[in-house]
Amino acid sequence: MKSGIKLFFYHLRKNKVGFAGFIVLLALIFMSYILPYFVPLDMETRVNEIFKPPSWKHPLGTDFQGRDILNQIIHGGKDVMNVAFMAGLISTAIAVSLGAVSGFVGGKVDMVLTSIADIILTIPHFPLLAVLAAFIDFKSSVGLATLLGLLSWPGAMRSIRAQVLSLKERDFVEAARVLDLGTGHIVFKEIIPNMMNYIVMNMIFSMRSAVYSQVGLIILGFVPFTSTNWGVMIHYAWSRGAIFFKGSLMYLLAPIAMIALFQWSLVSFARALEGVFNPRLRGE
């Protein structure tokens, strides 16, 4: 019998694109969380090196204050990823627990929970976030992540509720009831594993949208930015006129490319996970 982790990698490797996504994701995580310990953040202004094109000294060139762009890319991922992971976790946790309760219990509980979800769904998120940004201090990424998570669960919750509604009528759930295996077993062993890939997909998609909302807020300047991050870089590249200089294209392109790469790695990794969670897709 193979162990869990071995099995995980065995099935992951079967999907080549997914495995590539997994590797890229690992690389990005390594770059953003571990590399900063070895490469110190250098934010010193060098007037003589403003908007320099890529060179050996500055592989991606320099920004409007003569600072190294590669250095900022390395240090700028942590914030974006922190918010993405936290917001994804929070929104998925809410979506799964409320969706499972709503679908399993039904009746009035279901009615109340789905109407709450509907109300939140109808609120346009981005303007709301922009307005809230004026009142709430987003200095810590935890605050922003919580807010993004609290706003993004209803869609996933509704689809998880629908899945639970269909799964709970299946014969194998009925068999578990006849065997008196208990509600806990039915929910966590019979129903949730059957929608695990669905849950993971939802989590990754909510991480994806958290990245966009967060970066969007920063680019537009709604969130006061205190640290280096990819969103802040795009904001400055835009507002300080990097697009008008031939040599400084990288200041705008590098953070955009990193964000796109991060999103791509998430989505393709999610697809590979489908094979891990669904035994029928493993093709044994």
């Binding site: 014969d171 194998f172 006849v178 065997l179 008196d180 208990g182 077993h185 062993k189 594993p193 059957n194």
Partner: protein, 343 residues
Amino acid sequence: MAPIIELKHIGKSFMVKRGIFSEKKEIKVLDDVNLTIEEGEVLALVGESGCGKTTTAKIIAGIHKPTKGEFLYRGKNVWEMNKEEFERYRRAVQLIHQDPYASLNPTMRVFDTIKAPLLRHKIVEKRKVYDKVLELLEMVDLNPPEEYAFKYPHQLSGGERQRVTIARALTVGPEFIVADEPVSMLDVSIRLSIIELLKDLREKMGVGFLFVTHDLAMAKYFALEGKTAVMYLGKVVEYGNTRDVIDNPLHPYTQVLLKAIPEADPEVTRKKEMPKLRSLDVPSFLNLPKGCRFHTRCPLYMEGFCNKKEPKLRQVSSTRKVSCWLYHDEEGNVKEEAFKGVL
């Protein structure tokens, strides 16, 4: 002693709504069903699709709650039991589903499926669970058991899956098994081996069975020493020893059902004289015929009688019950001359 399973005037209805403005309508899927099953007895429940067989099975398995009447397990109403009694009932009565492709969780290996009830009900210690699972798999003829234990349902054939569901039902040591058409979804070639397995379990372990089927031949094969009940549109129309019911059917519906079984030899089937049904359509539950429910199709229909009043299931001999105006009158007096030649 009280019989193990007793249905008393059981009725089950569902509410349906057609369209936004129409009123809710009640569909009586079961109407005044009375059945008694003694310890270790086999009862075959026969009828065509949609007659309420599966609903009856699910009421006995405790999945559906009857809307009328009482369902008793060992003399106690299941839906008024305290927690302890209900748990005992749950373990004593098990269900085998019709479709083995739907009744096994696709994300669980055979081992996990069988392990769960063993551990939940503390039937074996944790370290002995593996041996117990293998023992159960061996009992249902899945050999070698070590190989089957770590397979996923999608890696098994229909017959193998059904064996796993049987092993799962056996984990809790049931006294009574509700088998809801356990072989109808399987290939004809493996049906017999599954039936043999169930028969074997019955003989070795003394497990009682409710064997739901639409196939009279299967009912005869499995429940030859037991009882047979024939259902039509939510009512039991005939009840008796399997041999009697099948060799000497009394109710016109049973007679027609028996005639409808095709013979292996097409020559014989073609030459067989088929009874003349008045209509081939089964009436809808939403629009049940007045009087006897079978009168719209009955070949022995008596005008002005069958379409006026509904007959009740009446005792016509010491072991036989039938609900047909041919055999008894309204007061329950048996018209002996009607079946003198038959019995």
